[in-house]
C-alpha cells in the first residue's frame, strides 16, 4: 500500500469518491423519509475514504484527513449524540422528543431524529476509517527481522 496502484485505478477512484461521499450524506440526512439512517450512512461515508486509501497509499490520504482530526471528529460525534439525548430533560424525562414535529413527508419532521442521525453518521464513519487506517499502518512498523522464533524461549518473556 505504499506506492499505490496503476493509473487507471487512481483516476477512477479520484473521480468516483466525491459522489460516494455525497450519497452517504444523503442517506444520513433523509434517514426519516427513505430507507437508511445513521448506521448505513456512516459506513458508506467510511468507505468513501477507504477507496482512496486503497488506490493512493497511506501518506496521500493522511494529508487530507489526518489521524488527529479524525480522532477529534469521532469524539465530537459521540458527545453530540449524548447532548441530543439530554435535551429531553427540559420537559422532565431523559430522551424525550421535544422538538416540533412538523408535517408528514417533509424534511423537517420527526423531532430530534435529524440531529441524532447526523451525530451517529459522523461517529460511525470516522471510527471505521480510523480503525482501517491503523490496521494498514501496522505492516510498516513491524519489519521481518523483529520476529523471534520459538527456539529462544527466554527472549519472549
Amino acid at each position: 500500500m505504499n506506492k499505490g496502484m496503476s493509473e487507471i485505478v487512481k483516476t477512477i477512484c479520484r473521480i468516483v469518491s466525491p459522489f460516494i461521499l455525497i450519497f452517504g450524506i444523503s442517506i444520513v440526512i433523509y434517514g426519516h423519509l427513505t430507507p437508511g439512517g445513521g448506521f448505513p450512512g456512516g459506513v458508506v461515508i467510511a468507505s468513501a475514504f477507504v477507496i482512496n486509501l486503497l488506490a493512493y497509499g497511506r501518506e496521500k490520504v493522511l494529508l487530507k484527513l489526518s489521524l488527529n482530526k479524525s480522532d477529534i471528529l469521532h469524539d465530537i460525534g459521540a458527545i453530540l449524540f449524548l447532548l441530543v439525548a439530554l435535551t429531553g430533560f427540559i420537559e422532565g424525562i431523559f430522551f424525550l422528543n421535544i422538538f416540533d414535529k412538523g408535517k408528514l413527508f417533509s424534511l423537517w419532521s420527526g423531532g430530534n431524529l435529524i440531529f441524532s442521525n447526523i451525530a451517529i453518521g459522523l461517529k460511525v464513519g470516522t471510527s471505521l476509517f480510523l480503525g482501517i487506517t491503523l490496521l494498514s499502518m501496522a505492516r510498516i512498523f513491524y519489519k521481518k527481522d523483529k520476529i523471534e522464533y520459538f527456539e529462544k524461549e527466554e527472549d519472549i518473556k
Binding site: 426519516h32 439512517g37 448506521f39 459506513v43 422528543n97 442521525n117 451517529i120 480503525g131 491503523l134
Partner: protein
C-alpha cells in the same frame, strides 16, 4: 410479486454451500473469496425479505470485512491450513447429530410458523410512527426514538472497540522506554 417457498430454500442452500467452502478450504485466499460470496447473497436475500436498510448495511459491511481480513493476512504466512485435532472433530459430530434430531422432533414448539408473524408490539409501532412522530420510516423511529436507550449502549460498544484497536497498535509500549 409472489415468491414461492422453493426460491427461499434455493438461496439459503447456496449460502450454506458457500459457508462450507469458506470454513473447510485449504488456502486462506479462497476461503476469503467465498466469505464474500455469502455476504453478497445475504444482502440480496435481505432485500427480498423486505428490509432495505439492512441490505445497504450488509453490502458495505461485507466489503469492509474483506478489506480488514486481507490487511491482516498479506505479508504473513498465507499458504496452507494446518491439521485439525481428532477429539474436537468427534465431539462436533455428536453435537451436530443431537442438535438436528432435537430440531426435527420439537420443531413445532421451538420455531414459529414462517409467514405469519404475531405483531403485538410491532403493530403499535407501525401505527404510532406516522401519527405521533410524523416520521415515514418506522425502522429509524424505533432505533432512535422508541428504543433509543439501546442505541446509546451500541454506540458505546463501537467506540470502545475502536479505542481498543488504537491501544493495541501503538508504536512504543511501556517496556520499550
Amino acid at each position: 410479486m409472489v415468491i414461492n417457498l422453493g426460491f427461499h430454500i434455493f438461496l439459503l442452500s447456496l449460502m450454506c454451500i458457500g459457508s462450507i467452502i469458506a470454513v473447510a478450504s485449504r488456502k486462506l485466499i479462497s476461503s476469503l473469496v467465498s466469505l464474500g460470496t455469502v455476504g453478497m447473497l445475504l444482502s440480496i436475500y435481505f432485500l427480498i425479505l423486505g428490509a432495505p436498510d439492512i441490505a445497504i448495511t450488509q453490502l458495505v459491511v461485507e466489503i469492509l470485512t474483506l478489506i480488514i481480513l486481507l490487511s491482516a493476512i498479506t505479508g504473513r504466512d498465507v499458504t496452507a491450513d494446518m491439521s485439525s485435532s481428532k477429539l474436537y472433530r468427534f465431539l462436533f459430530i455428536i453435537i451436530f447429530i443431537v442438535s438436528l434430531i432435537t430440531f426435527f422432533t420439537y420443531s413445532n414448539f421451538i420455531f414459529p410458523e414462517f409467514g405469519k408473524p404475531d405483531m403485538h408490539v410491532g403493530k403499535e409501532y407501525l401505527y404510532l410512527a406516522p401519527e405521533k412522530l410524523k416520521a415515514a420510516n418506522a425502522v429509524t423511529a424505533i432505533v432512535l426514538d422508541f428504543r433509543g436507550y439501546d442505541t446509546i449502549g451500541e454506540a458505546t460498544v463501537i467506540f470502545t472497540a475502536i479505542i481498543g484497536v488504537m491501544v493495541l497498535l501503538r508504536k512504543k509500549g511501556k517496556k520499550d522506554e
